[in-house]
């Protein structure tokens, strides 16, 4: 294999990996902070993708402009969902274990609701549009411009999120809540405001991922579920609640999948990712990058 094709292979892995990282970061924010394992996460990615497609097809709005719009819209949806369901759940559940189990069930309900709503509204067909499809040559390898843009944007957004969590006061509060919920409340961090906000940010991230995805790939109402599973794999790889771990885990999974598919055959891909997932969960339930 020449250097160029190696580069293409690794880069294609990183491109899907970037999307995985975004979805994983969103889910990790929800699970790490609030113990909500949002099985419906991928469905909101699908909603983001369809919103972008609709804006592009019927109104002619550029997908790049839809990036912040879909983030804001889904963040609003997330805060509403949190207020309607998880806030009550957190108040009425006797302990964290029960809250987790009930939260999982509510998320299941959401998954059914959103997925079938999308199917009823947009139909079950594959959709797509053309955006920046010109090829770009880089060091003997050839890429579609939209995929490179996708990688750059997903990396930039992930880095921005991690930066916000590391540098700002808000991020400090979030990290404190992840480390010790009781301790954080004792020093005056307002859970009532941070929880809905972070749940919203998590959904917003999946909306952004969907928006990016629709630029380069075809979309359908059933596309969400595989991404939910991938997000689960990513946060198991990176460790529940670890942001840097989720980014590294997402990129690693993308590259593993690309290499595995190239050297064996494409129908092994789901088998491969589930095997990685189960292997990691059984071998290191706290994540590969976790020192505990």
């Amino acid at each position: 294999m020449s250097l160029g094709s190696w580069l293409e292979l690794i880069a294609s892995g990183l491109i899907t990996g970037g999307i995985y990282a975004l979805v994983g970061l969103g889910l990790n924010l929800q699970y790490g902070l609030m113990r909500i394992l949002n099985i419906a996460h991928g469905e909101f990615l699908m909603v983001g993708a369809f919103l972008t497609w609709m804006a592009q097809e019927s109104l002619g709005i550029s997908p790049l402009l839809m990036l912040p719009v879909s983030f804001a819209l889904l963040m609003g949806v997330g805060m509403l969902v949190h207020r309607l369901t998880f806030r009550r759940l957190a108040r009425t559940s006797p302990n964290l274990d029960i809250f987790e189990a009930r939260g999982l069930m509510v998320a299941f309900g959401l998954m059914f609701l959103v997925q079938n709503f999308a199917q009823a509204v947009w139909g079950g067909d594959l959709r797509g549009y053309d955006f920046m499809t010109d090829p770009v040559h880089l060091g003997g390898a050839q890429f579609a411009a939209n995929k490179l843009l996708l990688l750059a944007l997903s990396l930039a957004i992930s880095a921005a999120l991690i930066g916000v969590l590391r540098q700002t006061l808000l991020g400090k509060g979030v990290r404190a809540l992840m480390q010790s919920p009781t301790g954080a409340q004792l020093v005056g961090i307002d859970t009532e405001r941070l929880h809905p906000l972070m749940f919203g940010v998590g959904l917003g991230l999946s909306g952004v991922a969907g928006c990016l995805l629709s630029m380069a790939y075809t979309i359908s109402p059933a596309m969400g579920e595989p991404y939910t599973v991938t997000a689960l794999i990513v946060i198991t790889l990176g460790g529940f609640g670890s942001m840097g771990g989720a980014l590294a885990g997402g990129l690693a999974l993308g590259v593993i999948e690309a290499l595995g598919m190239h050297f064996t055959n494409p129908s092994l891909k789901p088998l491969l990712s589930y095997a990685v997932f189960i292997g990691v969960l059984l071998w290191k339930p706290n994540g590969l990058f976790n020192k505990r």
């Binding site: 299941f108 059914f112 609701l113 129908s267 189960i278």
Partner: protein, 350 residues
């Protein structure tokens, strides 16, 4: 308790008497089961083809969700692997259908599924809560993809056509027998040492262990029992479809719907899953053809509402629950209209 009986025979008599008389509601449960089974037995003689096929779906979900609740409801280990066991049963049945007798096929389906559950259980049953749920789901998908890979690459097929299929009434009676068996086993297990051990694990696993329950054996056994029922149901149901492929028999939806029915009905109760299974089969058959999305959306919404407002499930619904809801709503409304009044009342209360 009086002095313990001495001889073995006396002990046995004492045990049987204790079992029959001293436990709550045993007579009621058995009578209800008999009445329902008798009615279902008579159904194929006067019902139309449509009614019988609906009853078949209904019985399938009764068997699946009751057996699911038997282990997962009592121990609160949320298994999403029902679809895996169902599919394994269906495939085992399809492999042996031409050579073996009908009964042997069903038993084989149950056996292989239970065997897989033993292996799976020994790997994952030490993990609790969300980890367990996610892992069982992951394993289901792994099995599904492995089987479809095997079909595609090794045997070069997509699915299997079942040529020799038994008559409709045979399938119906088998499914009825499985449903009755699932409820009967639940009735019995709830009153045995094994069942009480499972319930103890659900309440507090460490305490149960300290009090002498062999939690590992109890959990693995319970998991295998659930799997055996799902496998048998899969083997019996696949002949109704006459064509099976991994996407239909390992459909995660079978597992999700089982869990949904059991939870909405009340996973910790005996009759909850049965009531919910009947309601949902009726809802499914009447809505699925006209508006499949609407049916699934209703399912999702009902699940959310039941988790939020009725965590014990439909079977835990009492007049007091309704009264409590009414009070909540009036309180909320009063607070909305006049916040001061409410705070005064609250202050007076404290």
């Amino acid at each position: 308790m009086s002095t313990l009986p001495a001889t073995r025979w006396e002990r046995l008599v004492y045990r049987v008497r204790y079992f029959l008389l001293d436990r709550e509601h045993l007579g009621r449960d058995i009578l209800v089961l008999f009445a329902l089974a008798g009615w279902a037995l008579a159904l194929p003689h006067y019902g139309s083809e449509f009614v019988v096929s609906m009853a078949l779906t209904c019985l399938m979900y009764i068997a699946l969700s009751t057996s699911w609740a038997l282990f997962c409801g009592t121990t609160r280990y949320l298994s999403l692997a029902t679809a895996a066991f169902f599919g394994i049963g269906a495939y085992t049945g399809a492999l042996f259908l031409e050579d073996w007798g009908w009964l042997a096929v069903i038993v084989a389906g149950a056996g292989v599924a239970a065997l897989v559950a033993l292996v799976m259980g020994s790997l994952v049953l030490h993990l609790r809560g969300t980890y367990f749920a996610v892992l069982t789901f992951g394993m289901t998908e792994l099995i599904r993809h492995a089987v479809s890979y095997w079909e595609k690459q090794v045997t070069g097929t997509v699915g299997r056509v079942l040529v020799v299929v038994p008559e409709r009434d045979t399938v119906y009676l088998t499914m009825l027998a499985l449903a009755v068996a699932a409820v009967a086993v639940s009735i019995v297990v709830r009153r045995t040492r094994f069942g009480l051990g499972l319930m103890g694990i659900g309440a507090d696993e460490q305490r149960a262990q300290t009090l002498g329950v062999n939690t590992r054996v109890a959990k693995t056994g319970g998991f295998a029992l659930t799997a055996a029922f799902a496998g048998a149901v899969g083997a019996a149901m696949s002949v109704r479809w006459t064509y099976i492929d991994p996407a239909t028999v390992f459909n995660p939806f079978i597992g999700f719907q089982t869990v949904l029915i059991a939870l909405i009905g009340g996973a910790a109760t005996l009759w909850g899953p049965l009531i919910a299974a009947i309601v949902f089969s009726l809802l499914a058959e009447s809505l699925r053809l006209q508006a499949p999305q609407l049916y699934l959306m209703t399912l999702g919404l009902l699940l959310i509402l039941s988790v939020l407002f009725l965590p014990g499930g439909l079977a835990s619904l009492r007049w007091d629950t309704l009264r409590q809801w009414r009070d909540d709503v009036t309180d909320w409304w009063r607070e909305r209209r006049d916040p001061k009044k409410r705070s005064k009342k609250k202050a007076a209360a404290t």
